[in-house]
Amino acid sequence: MKKLRRHRKVVSVHFTERKFKLVILHVTKSTTKQGVTVLQMKGSIQSGPDCRRLEQETDALIQGKEHFVIFDFCEVTHIDSSAIGSIARCFSRLKTSGGSLRLAGCKGMVEASLKLTQLHRVLELYPNASAAAENFPQPH
């Protein structure tokens, strides 16, 4: 019984930590009718696994010859400075491979962060993914 109680305590601490942790990043991939790849993200993008995931997804797209990409942030609530670095890295890699990156659905804290770092001067921001897909350089 004592053992069980101790175990219960550990579980409840774990639950409390999980409760206060920000939402984990979820990524959904789709393709527009123009042939542009959209990575729709949900949650928050923070240093560590989230940023690694973002860069790995981009690397996989480049390897799969998908060089024209939209990051749809309409359901992203929070990004930190590491995420800014990751977005810049993703853009650099896509540009080097002959492609491009556009950001869609940035609002609130996400939009403010992109403007603070002046990344919005390099990366084009669009209200949504369909607006970002318009006039996108034609994928080869």
Binding site: I84, G85, S113, L116, T117, Q118, V122
Partner: protein, 101 residues
Amino acid sequence: MTDWMYLQENPAEQLALLHFFSVVKRQPTGDVVFRVTVKEFAAPPPSQRLRFFAEADKAVNQKTASFIPCGWGNSLFNALGDCIRLIRQFPYEGEEASSSP
């Protein structure tokens, strides 16, 4: 809470204590001095939830995706640490490279 913070009447005033730092980025083209200003807000600015915001005085990664290294957090250490990490990770590709700090 430090006394100066009580001078703020409204969060929209964004009263902040400024902390200044300097760091040298060493790279093959020459050393570059970055000055980092950390704003310690009396209260998180509107639509923010963190009190510390660090910003470098110049951009990095100018040739591909130029941006200003920044960092934000709930302590000076976190905000400054994030900003300096970005300064270290990305090359300075501007014209202001100098050899002395």
